[in-house]
Symmetry: C2
Subunit: 237 residues, 2 copies
Amino acid sequence: MSNLFFVDKISTENIQSIENEEAHHAIKVLRLSVGELVYVSDGHGKWISGPISEISKKSLAIRIENTGETHAEKPELVVVQAFTKSDRNKEMLELVTVSGADRIIPWSSQRSISKWQSDSREKWMITVKEACKQSKRFRVPIVNNQMSTNEILNEVKTGFAIVFHESAKEKFSEISLPANLDRIYLIVGPEGGITEEELQLFSTINATVVRLGAPILRSAHAGFAAMSALQTKIGRW
Amino acid sequence: MSNLFFVDKISTENIQSIENEEAHHAIKVLRLSVGELVYVSDGHGKWISGPISEISKKSLAIRIENTGETHAEKPELVVVQAFTKSDRNKEMLELVTVSGADRIIPWSSQRSISKWQSDSREKWMITVKEACKQSKRFRVPIVNNQMSTNEILNEVKTGFAIVFHESAKEKFSEISLPANLDRIYLIVGPEGGITEEELQLFSTINATVVRLGAPILRSAHAGFAAMSALQTKIGRW
């Protein structure tokens, strides 16, 4: 399977260059050769593909054969993920990315165990980008900075908010989504769950609380299950 | 969160005993004490819960306070999973189990890299059981022995077979499922994909070939995505 690399800007000529770290990775780690087919994207949807035409010490050139663009779709799909135990974050981010989330908001919830560090956002973004490469996704999801519960409440008011909680009576498949939504928020609690107080706060902004099946999902898996369910419900999958 | 233990038989009296390995795990590893609430299930849907009333050297007794049963539902949901790289099997089995598969069939497909060993089934069953404990699932999915492509073709004829492949034109959400199905098979390829020849064979038995979204899912994640999508479509989630 051909590799995908990210660059700042997609060429409008017929040669695309790859430089810096991505070039280093291609040349020194993957040891690609002239002639091999690769994909290059700007991470915002635009992409090209073609064979490597030249490899120099710190860069490589691709002869552009195909071009394309993955456009943003409406509604925007946003996963609000309470941060969970740090060793599960990588798995969570990979799953949420490949399931097509447009944006991920780290939520500092009452029962979040780990702390958000100054480099956490950068780390999350690296993981998300890796998952995009692995799954050939040309639009890299946006990772916001962490938000408190109050900030989350203000944010999710701007769209249709769905909270996943095992105590909910209503099933996800039973809810009806209004037409022409700009944005859907899927709100996933931490390993220890969303508290009663948080549920109460979400109810004040008319968030819809639903459950996903009977078994209890790990926090790191719940976002993926929710995204898969939503993608099916809105007909993208 | 209370622990779940599996036993061969659920008591019809008011005391449930736990013995052997499960007792060892409760006493020596988890170091549970008298009074702690636990769940006990026969793995076929029947369960009880209550506080530990007595701990002896190799067994413990539970005073039964609640009983229940998760019944088998129709259609039966069967994941046919080409075995993938062995280090991903654990993740795949955990995901497929918590998403509610009733049965898992290991498929020896053309591009399956790892080999099925004499103890593979036992290993898969242990992982599946662990995932049931973690997610409080009282019906443990059945793990079949490995099947060849021909055996898979014969098996999936008895139900509605859906093959997931990135080349498919039809989206999963677009298919219409016949009413009153006994069994739905979700067929997931290995890391290297389902071959053209295999796709051709599935078409001879009228399997429906669909795709799930644009990004390419890892084999270990595809079954979970497929199950989540199906659970939503049939209205269980």
